[in-house]
Symmetry: C2
Subunit: 350 residues, 2 copies
């Protein structure tokens, strides 16, 4: 069997290589650079091919494909969401992604995206917070202290200068885990016994719970004037986190309205409830926060362009640092019409 040519190989970033890559740069630097990379792609938003994700729903969860393209590169992410997985010791969300050349259709990168999605979700919240939170915000509350919580805390520290995080989860052991992980990060960490307590003095709140159901993590009385909310956990049909009254008092910012109206907090609202597209705020086309008293809400569900930006970011870094391996994934016969000949010759002794 003759060895395959270079074209047959696709660089692959395993979980282990992703973690090495992140540490070789530094977690906070990665979060900062990712925020900038996503923001850069949001400024060229109209360029991208946009379709709502393609979901396959079952009783216990969802498997989704999220494709997009900027005309040069094509990317997609495979991601599942199975809230009951944790009971079997499995991740609620696992993911991997791919980049390919539009001009040839050949894949150029396959990557784990469980760790990368956690990073890009936090970076997207940081981007929204940078544009929408009150200037000089120093205190944030995190309601839901699961797998996403520490990433949210570090991204907001790195990007907007958050100094104190106030944690609450219905499961105190989740809060203890989050507090332990954040202990040496330079953040002041306060563990709280209620959402209300966590909200005390917070200018920013991130909700990132994982139950697949309509839940009311925050009620109207908890949200004071001027607060910015990142609602991250409500991200599929039938799953929301905020009481409707909060939405009615907030100016709502979203990634891609056709997707958010199905999956986000605003699935509770009328189909024409006014929302602002975040990319237009970043572009300067629309105002973001207009007063110190306004409540701003980023109804984040995660969009394909964010994954695209994240894949492009790690692609460049992995090739430079060597934190990848080569996968023999593409059949590449010498004569492209001779796929069968390649198969036939593979049977011959070398």
């Amino acid at each position: 069997m003759t060895p395959p040519s270079n074209l047959a190989y696709v660089p692959f970033i395993s979980v282990e290589n992703m973690m090495r890559l992140v540490h070789s740069i530094g977690v906070e630097t990665v979060l900062k650079e990712l925020t900038d990379a996503i923001e850069h792609d949001f400024t060229r938003w109209p360029l991208f091919d946009k379709t709502p994700r393609v979901g396959s729903h079952s009783d216990v969860g969802v498997i989704e494909l999220m494709p997009t393209s900027d005309g040069e590169l094509y990317g997609f992410k495979y991601v599942n969401g199975h809230p009951t997985n944790t009971k079997q010791g499995l991740q609620t969300v696992t993911a991997f992604g791919l980049l390919a050349q539009v001009s040839s259709g050949y894949p150029v990168l396959l990557s784990e995206m469980t760790v990368l999605t956690a990073l890009r979700t936090a970076a997207t919240s940081a981007m929204a917070t940078r544009h929408l939170a009150p200037k000089g915000s120093k205190v944030m509350a995190i309601i839901g202290n699961g797998a996403q919580s520490e990433f949210q805390a570090l991204a907001l520290k790195a990007v907007v200068g958050i100094e104190e995080v106030r944690l609450y989860d219905i499961d105190p052991s989740a809060t203890a885990k989050c507090a332990r992980n954040l202990a040496k990060t330079g953040l002041k960490v306060v563990s709280c016994r209620s959402s209300q307590e966590a909200m005390e003095g917070a200018q920013v709140v991130t909700t990132c719970t994982a139950d697949k159901q309509y839940a009311t993590i925050l009620t109207d009385n908890m949200i004071g004037e001027g607060v910015h909310i990142n609602a991250i956990g409500g991200d599929c049909p039938g799953k929301t986190e905020l009481h409707k009254d909060i939405l009615l008092r907030s100016e709502i910012f979203v990634e891609y309205p056709p997707q958010t109206r199905i999956e986000g907090e605003i699935q509770q609202m009328a189909k024409d409830h006014p929302v602002t597209e975040l990319w237009q705020v970043i572009n300067g086309e629309k105002p973001g926060r207009r007063s110190a008293k306004q409540i701003t809400l980023f109804d984040g569900v995660g969009f394909a362009i964010e994954d695209f930006s994240a894949l492009k970011y790690v692609y460049d870094r992995a090739l430079k640092t060597g934190h990848f391996q080569q996968l023999d994934m593409i059949a590449d016969p010498d004569d492209p019409r001779d796929l069968f000949g390649m198969l036939q010759r593979a049977a011959e002794p070398a």
Copy 2:
């Protein structure tokens, strides 16, 4: 860095392992077993989650995602189609695919699918031919002698007992390549100088050309009574192979009408032009060939269920034969809520 747990690994079939797997079983046996595997899934067609493929089109080609699920397993294929790729020494079509558990969303197999798609496309034609061609067909014509041609010949030999293949391609070197590859397969191979000559005495014809444009590979006068046609090459919007008059004389069988009306030969016809779904013929719900004189046409565009069947088939065989490797693709922290802790610990010296 502690080694990842077993759940973190996804079996991967590289191109090299796919070829080893195929030869360990035998190409014709694989084609026969694949035909049976696809036919089995066609009999339980209503069970499957069906969506038309999600395409990203550019001037030079298309990248598609083709997902489906039978409620237990979820599968999707990534596939591109770039007709001008051959000019740069690249494959027109490359592909890979994935199987995952619906219950957890965890991937269980990643596989190359360039070789596998060639096999399943031929197996699908063989399945259609088994149900639609005149009984005792011995002679087939293959118009278009590119990467798919030899697979078509061998599948029809293995499944319906074809003894003679008559080859034609506008490029004689493609015909020479195909004839050479089929030389020791036990088939009588006849190279022809025109489509008309290739059609002489053929009960079955497969068209598998690759140009992305409306082309007329076969005209009405070439098709005599009783012939069965597998039209395989016209498989995207703007790409057809047969003259409309042939379609008007034929009983047309398709995989999934919403997709075939966009991508198949019948994009030339009215939106309500009658077609029969192949799975209903296989199930016995609808008649297939009704007379010796009838022209039957399988307007094949390739459907996600065929890829699903093919992935399931190689999944079972690969695990048994060991023709796979393990990819560290899924982040699997001991505590599923502690993704950040896993990342943090990866930075510590082992």
